[in-house]
Amino acid sequence: MSESSYTRVPVLGRQLRDFMFAGVLALVIASAAFVGVRNRELAARQIDLATRSADAVADGRDALPTVHAAIVSEPRISTKHSYLRRRTIREGGKTRVLGAEPHVADDKLFYDAANRAQQGATIAEMLPDGSGRALVAHKAPGGIAIAITAPAAPAPYPFLVFIGVLGLGASLVAAGALVGRNAQRLGTLAGIATLAVPTLLWQSWVAASLILALAFVVAAMQHIGVSDRFARGLVTHRVALSFLSPAAVAMSVLVAAPFVIGLLLGFYDHHQGTWTFVGLDNFTRILSGNGHSLDDPLNFWFILGVTVLWTVANIALHVTVGVSLALLLSRKWLRGKGIFRMLLILPWAIPNYITALMWKGMFQGQYGAVNSLLHAVGLGDVSWFGSWATAFSANVITNTWLGFPFMMVVALGALETIPKELYEAASVDGASAWQRFRHITLPHLRPALGPAVALGSIWTFNMFNVIFLVSGGKPGDSTNILVTDAYRWAFERGDRYGMAAAEGTIIFLILLLWTVFGTRVVRSKEPA
């Protein structure tokens, strides 16, 4: 950690360290280049083989050896079922029905290829099964000429080449290090550049130039000391790094990566399995309301308004109910605390799919328990899903019921960290119970409740189930929130994943803005 312990690191070690770092990157690039080149070559060779064979059978000649080629007839459409059709294959002079039993393994390939080539285009491709076989099909006199090559194994991975090149590079670096001063950078440059040699041989110019660029960058970094600083940073903060890395790795692979993909998808349009880049179209379409006026429940801004109301109402209720209960349940003198606590987390413990439906039933107009209760106390029936306000309330009530136990547990935990002494000091200072809550409890709950509120509002903002199951958007679509709308883009409006992703991105940006302020509140408590 001290400066001196680094100046003592032998130069050689440092050079090799940088070389190793660059070497790993270079190897990744080179391997990718190798695989690409190898597959391209293989495909070209096989397709060429198949093309020549297909042409041959089309001309009535024999196919090349190892290639399976034949002419498939035009289809004969069933008279009874317009979607059924038969084809025959002429092979080795004999003709037989494709699809009849028994058939040989390639029959289905021939049949499908014929169907596809029927439209007139020539097919020339590698089979997607990874066997290395190529298929070529085009129209020919008497039907469709089709050729399928035998499998071909790709060239093996050139381990020896890579090891050799690495060794060579390392010795160049070492040599540079031993000569000293400027030769060090040169050594690094030359050593890393050596790794570009195989890619040059494969004529993979992109890979070669990437590796060369890498060599320059590393040498330059070394020159201005960035690589040292970086390495030192790694060592200085090795404890932090090692404590943080499991979470960081897991999060970046399983959360951040899908998240980035999700963000990117917003710039594409999805249609029947194909994605087209459309720039900001999706966003403008959503933000402009997609042709709906502002007071139309399908307009983005309308939904946003509902969503914000929904979030605020819920969080406010979750926190008040949760914290109040937590305060009650943390009283020293309370008997049966464990039982109460356990019962009160039940709404969280039971799968919310069914409890949400129970609530929906309870809000049902004629027979619901809520209305029965209202009746009992002499109030009239409420058609809960008949007006916006009541439907929205029904959603909020359900979600509050579902959500308060979480806040309660968080608050229960946080309450326990507050030093008793502070309450003692405050009560000696003459503070009443409320003042103690206001001045001691609340400030100390903030570090725990802050994140819970921030995350809770994110979850609520994106709470799909309750809306979907309870009001289902009724009346009209007016109680829908942004996620339910995004969900509909994804699943009910023709798999418009791009639109859904764009809406997701907008949701994300809104939440980001929200938490910029939210975390400010959270952070202010953090010790500097």
């Binding site: 002494e421 003692e424 000091a425 009560s427 000696v428 200072d429 003459g430 009443s432 001691i440 010790p527």
Partner: protein
Amino acid sequence: MCDLELSGIRKQYDGVARPVIPDLDLVIPAHKMVVLVGPSGCGKSTTLRMVAGLEEPTAGKILIDGRDVTHLPPAERDIAMVFQSYALYPHMTVFENMAFGLRIKHLPEAEIRRRVEATADSLGLRPYLERRPKALSGGQKQRVAIGRAVVRQPKVFLFDEPLSNLDAKLRGDMRREIARIHRELNATAMYVTHDQIEAMTLADQIVVLKDGVVQQIGTPIDIYEKPANRFVAGFFGTPSMNFLEADLTQGAGSASARGNGFEIPVPIANVPSLRPAAAAVDRVVVGIRPERLSLAKTGDDVPLRGEVAMREVLGAEVVLHVESAAGPLTVRTDAGAAPRPGDTVQVWLDPKSIHLFDRASEERL
């Protein structure tokens, strides 16, 4: 009027077999400052916490102004307390810490500011008003704790070792400041300290506790000059009193204590409780304070012989640890001509300043 009375107080902590305080009766007259002293762990803080209402006594009653407050919450007792552990509010600045109690009372903001700033000035905390407690030094924290209590001007003050982390100079200033505030507010106060100077100068009365039992209650001078038992005598005064075992032989109108290598005439007038017609020989302990021993005869003193084992220089004075036939002796004397370790000295003892204790009961005779 605001007197404070503890009657029949017993305190036992959960899970501890012996009660910390078995049975405590204590009356603190209104407007007085009572200093509690006693060895570490004797129950001083516990007593204060019970008066404050932070611990419920296992038995007994606490009365403030004649009102039974035993089960009242602290907020209803109008008490201010300096906690031994400070208990500052970590999320508030020094200013807010001190202002908290005033805000609670809904004083006008200007008044709060005035009072807090005045208190901060008197405690030397002005530059730190905007800091959080964790950015303060130990002594500064302790001063904030004092400030928080005194700024509130309550009727009862409880101080639990409020000056222990301050330097001597500041401690002197603070001590005078506390005395001033106490006087001005006409409050009743209990004060725990381990500092003899604080105890002697602040106290209207000193209560000496040991294992939760009151050993003596009295004015500082009483405690110092007429310790009720060997424990009080040894506990109060630094360095502590020397004790020599002796046998008391009582003649007609005169008595003398004879120990290993010494014999002291005991002025009967000094020992009123001597049984007039007791057995010929009483087993006693003779106590004499180190500052009452001298290296030169000044009156009708009695000499003891010993060898200097250690010499501690305390500035103008020196404490000599002398090994004598009668036992180890501590002598406090002038730095000037003090002998070195290894020297043989004669220590002179003034029979008029001795204290006599029964060897069995350890009570003062």
